[in-house]
């Protein structure tokens, strides 16, 4: 996608939400060998700033720095880690192409209200969950893995549908031993919906 569109004043910026930092993300990034900015976000700062509650989460930002489409739970293309094969989401790739060529008149551009609905603003509970999550990440990084779990649980309790906090914590510990659940059970818990926001892709005419 980037190769095709890079001549059209278009760039990709990828952010790895990984509290294990480069150690977790390195093999993926090296395999993809990106030519665009590809950063690592140990504290999930970008997810918090943009209101993303899970990954993938994709945002379109125009030339003036305005978000014109928010929180799409899809990759335009993704590579299978084992086989190295790429799978392309053709509908989504076509939507990106349409935006790159038509700009604000593309049918895929969302109005301000849609964008705001998808970049949910932070509430007191969000920021309290953030505090517990960050404290947990710090303790984990200092080697206090068991103590970190209590703070992750507090973050999950405050914001059960924040899946970046949940999946990260499950990944840093042992979901069954530390949290007494399985990923499938947690994912289906009514309190933790939605797992992904809906993808609203208008049909081309």
């Amino acid at each position: 996608m980037r190769e095709e569109l890079k001549g059209k004043n278009f760039e990709v910026f990828t952010v790895a939400c990984d509290s294990k930092g480069a150690a977790a993300a390195e093999s993926w990034i090296k395999q993809a060998n990106p030519q665009h900015p590809s950063v690592i976000d140990e504290q999930h700062r970008v997810a918090e700033l943009y209101g993303a509650k899970n990954v993938p989460s994709v945002f379109w930002i125009d030339e003036q720095g305005s978000i014109v489409r928010a929180n799409d739970p899809v990759y335009a293309a993704r590579r299978n880690r084992e086989t190295g094969e790429s799978t392309v989401n053709q509908d989504y790739l076509n939507a990106v192409r349409d935006w790159v060529s038509k700009g604000p008149t593309s049918i895929y551009v969302q109005d301000e209200r849609r964008v705001q609905a998808h970049t949910s603003q932070m509430t007191a509970e969000d920021v309290q969950a953030m505090a517990s999550f960050r404290l947990g990440v710090y303790l984990f990084q200092q080697g206090h893995v068991k103590d970190a779990v209590a703070h992750f649980k507090r973050a999950h309790q405050l914001k059960p549908n924040n899946w970046t906090y949940r999946r990260q914590a499950y990944n840093l510990g042992n979901i069954e031993q530390d949290y007494g659940t399985t990923f499938l059970q947690a994912r289906e818990d009514p309190a933790s919906q939605p797992f992904y926001p809906p993808l609203e892709l208008p049909k081309p005419t």
Binding site: E11, V12, K30, P37, A124, A131, A150
Partner: protein, 152 residues
């Protein structure tokens, strides 16, 4: 490391003030609350006590006289400041770990509430694998596809 009792006690506190980590050997803990000397407060958080209030850079937070006693305590000629009580005043989220005496303080209310009603893409700067920093704003003037992913 600590000599805490029910009335509180002296600890080596680790303070995570948004991105900044400080180890402070003269923390005083009382329940959920952390008290620091004024020099430690300034070093860890950037907040300083001035005649107009508690200030950091251009920002000053006035402290009502009636509440001053819950923030400020003088002992043996030294003044101590209750960082946790101040966090409550400015709606700043905080969390603490009892076992390791670690406190995390998040953004004050005016930072996280100001995101309401704006379509402007928030800027950020983060390192790549080689440690080189990249900012979103460096791409201003281009269309950008910002994609969050994870290995988990």
């Amino acid at each position: 490391m600590s000599t805490t009792s029910s009335r509180g006690g002296s600890v080596t506190a680790t303070v995570l003030y948004q991105e900044k980590v400080s180890k402070l050997p003269r923390g005083w803990v009382e329940g959920d609350d952390l008290w620091l000397t004024l020099p430690d407060l300034a070093a860890a958080s950037g907040w300083e006590l001035k005649p107009e209030g508690v200030c950091r850079g251009e920002t000053c937070v006035p402290v009502p006289d009636a509440r001053l006693a819950s923030f400020l305590h003088e002992e043996s000629g030294e003044r101590w400041f209750n960082v946790s009580e101040f966090a409550r005043l400015i709606d700043q989220p905080f969390a603490r770990d009892e076992a390791h005496y670690v406190w995390y303080f998040g953004p004050p209310s005016w930072e996280w509430q100001s995101r309401v009603g704006s379509r402007q893409a928030p800027d950020f700067t983060l390192p790549d694998l080689a440690g080189k920093p990249h900012s979103l704003s460096e791409l201003r003037g281009k269309k950008v596809l910002l994609a969050c992913w994870a290995s988990w």
